[in-house]
């Protein structure tokens, strides 16, 4: 595969759902153009009904495009071959309740052609990777929502795909579970995987995405890197120990002498989810002891 090929390439995608015979249509996606480069974590954002899930379904070949060209690693998305390198975690996944977590992942692995000696090793590896080794032999029907998300991620990863599509991966999951999911996504990025995430929980996406696209009523409104979109390049924030009023005045003077203005003096606040995570501990978190929580404490400007 040529390195110049995008993981996902969407050109002029329009998707209409017919409502009546006379041609009254519901346009779910309208002339969408997107390129997702290999190795990126890409966020597809938008309110409910904005066309995120429809776009994902077209990428996965579950729906046909009305107009336009959608390719996955250069292969038309409606071909079975295009899905060879794709792992998919649907929104609020539901799996065969009567299977154990291990049986479920094994089933999907075999569907993806993983067999022989590698099957068991690969199944154990992904189950361990998502932190479900202790619950792998329990029936899926007994899993919590967060565990379902993790076993869902395991089945999406079991055939070692290059592109992972996550549809609302943190919806309905508690903050601890969400943090764990975000941490897993970061680890996927470090492994060189391309990740496409849809979400309407913007704060969570913001923490893990390299680039985002915002859709509204099927149209692309904004697209770019997170830093470009939300970073204020003409401003900087300094976080210091509490300063007495006199020192603050001195600082203002110092800045004024150099042609700068102190625009705001505020008490920094931790985000509520960070507070929650610092108070609620959960042993055996995936990917290491406390990596999930700690990572949220990285300052904004330290992001890649």
């Amino acid at each position: 595969m040529s390195p110049s090929v995008s993981a996902i390439s969407i050109q002029g995608l329009t998707k209409d759902f017919s409502v009546t015979l006379r041609g009254v249509k519901l346009r779910a996606v309208d002339a969408l153009n997107l390129e997702v480069a290999e190795g990126q974590v890409y966020g597809l954002l938008g309110p409910n009904g904005s066309g995120k899930s429809t776009t994902i379904k077209i990428i996965l070949g579950l729906l046909d495009a009305t107009v336009g060209d959608v390719r996955v690693f250069g292969v038309p998305a409606n071909r079975v071959e295009a899905r060879r390198n794709v792992g998919y975690l649907p929104e609020a996944p539901y799996f065969y309740r009567y299977l154990s977590g291990r049986e479920l992942v094994k089933f999907y692995a075999r569907v993806c052609g993983v067999s022989g000696a590698t099957l068991k090793a690969r199944v154990d590896e992904v189950i361990d990777w998502v932190g479900l080794s202790g619950a792998a032999d329990r029936r899926v029907g007994t899993y919590s929502k967060g565990m379902l998300q993790r076993i869902g991620l395991a089945q999406a990863l079991v055939h070692d795909p290059k592109l992972i599509v996550l549809d609302e991966p943190t919806a309905g999951v508690d903050p601890v579970g969400s943090a764990e999911m975000c941490e897993l996504i970061r680890k996927l990025k470090h492994q060189g995987k391309t990740v496409l995430i849809t979400s309407h929980l913007l704060a969570q996406i913001e923490d893990v995405c390299d680039r985002v696209a915002i859709l509204d009523r099927g149209k692309l409104i904004v697209e770019g890197s997170v830093l470009e979109l939300v970073g204020q390049r003409d401003r900087q924030a300094l976080i210091v120990d509490p300063l007495p009023e006199a020192d603050l005045e001195a600082l203002r003077g110092w800045l004024a002498a150099r042609g700068h203005t102190l625009n705001a003096v505020e008490q920094p606040r931790a985000r509520l989810d960070q507070l929650f995570l610092s108070k609620v501990s959960r042993p055996g978190r995936p990917g290491g002891a406390s990596a999930g929580v700690g990572s949220n404490e990285v300052p904004l400007d330290a992001k890649p």
């Binding site: 209409d16 017919s18 409502v19 009546t20 015979l21 006379r22 041609g23 249509k25 009305t66």
Partner: protein, 278 residues
């Protein structure tokens, strides 16, 4: 008027599916037709007009849909329940309904006719005051009337099972046991005995009836003709019994020893082993 092609997709799919099914039906007809012909031959036509009112729409659809045997079985069980209550019109109607639903099992015809010919006269006598109170002429009339219904019913059965020896035997039994008509019974036993699947006793009874009618020579000739045809390895054939009857007739008719019947079976005794039975 413009139609949206995407909106028409389900209709296109439906049309392709319908066409595919039609084409499959046409292509598979040569495979289906001979099998269907054979299976159809084993399924007598239903006379729906007479059944609809008695059964209702739901059961009628069940009958047409292939549950004919089980519906008939259920109605036969119901017939037995009505029969236990000595309800003559109810039992008679129910018997006829069962065979209208499924005329194939001989069991229904044979047992239905027995209920009509043998049980129902007794019910009528009971209803009329009992055996002691009812005059013999009336008893005789009841027997004749019920026998007539039973014979008609069995003749109807022969339309579905042409030449069936068990049905002919059953008619013969009614003539013999209820109507005391030995002449007709003898003819019918003979007719039944000519069928390859007939039980061996049909021929023996025919000969006995000829004797009762005083036609010993005819009976003797018949049994002499019959004996060589009887297998020795079938317990029902009873060639020894037939030979015994031949000997009895030879005694009665005074046939000289030299002219007596000589059986071909090695196991059969040449001369009667015992004095003739009464």
């Amino acid at each position: 008027m413009r139609f949206d092609s995407a909106a028409l997709r389900p209709f296109r799919t439906g049309a392709v599916v319908a066409l595919g099914l039609f084409a499959a039906g046409v292509a598979l007809r040569p495979l289906e037709a001979p099998a269907w012909q054979s299976i159809r031959a084993g399924q007598p036509a239903l006379r729906l007009e007479s059944l609809k009112d008695a059964l209702g729409q739901g059961v009628t659809v069940g009958l047409l849909g292939g549950f004919r045997a089980i519906v008939a079985d259920l109605f036969w069980i119901r017939t037995n329940t009505i029969w236990e209550g000595n309800d003559l019109p109810g039992t008679q109607t129910s018997i006829k309904l069962v065979t209208a639903i499924d005329p194939r099992p001989l069991y229904f015809w044979l047992n239905g006719s027995r209920m009509i010919a043998y049980d129902m006269p007794n019910w009528r006598i009971d209803k009329a005051g009992g055996y002691d109170a009812v005059p013999d002429a009336v008893k005789r009339r009841f027997d004749e009337e019920q026998s007539s219904v039973a014979i008609k019913y069995l003749e109807n059965a022969l339309e579905f099972h042409p030449g069936e020896p068990l049905l002919i035997l059953e008619i013969a039994n009614v003539h013999l046991n209820r109507l005391k008509d030995n002449e007709t019974a003898a003819k019918l036993y003979l007719e039944a005995s000519r069928h390859p699947d007939a039980p061996f006793y049909a021929a023996r009874i025919h000969a006995e009836l000829l004797r009762k009618l005083g036609r010993n020579a005819e009976a003797y000739a018949f049994l002499k003709q019959l004996h060589p045809t009887l297998p020795t390895n079938d317990i029902g054939a009873m060639p020894d019994v037939v030979l015994g009857r031949i000997r009895e007739l030879e005694e009665e008719m005074g046939i000289p020893e030299t002219q007596r019947f000589q059986p071909r079976h090695a196991s059969a005794p040449v001369l009667p082993a015992a004095p003739p039975a009464p």
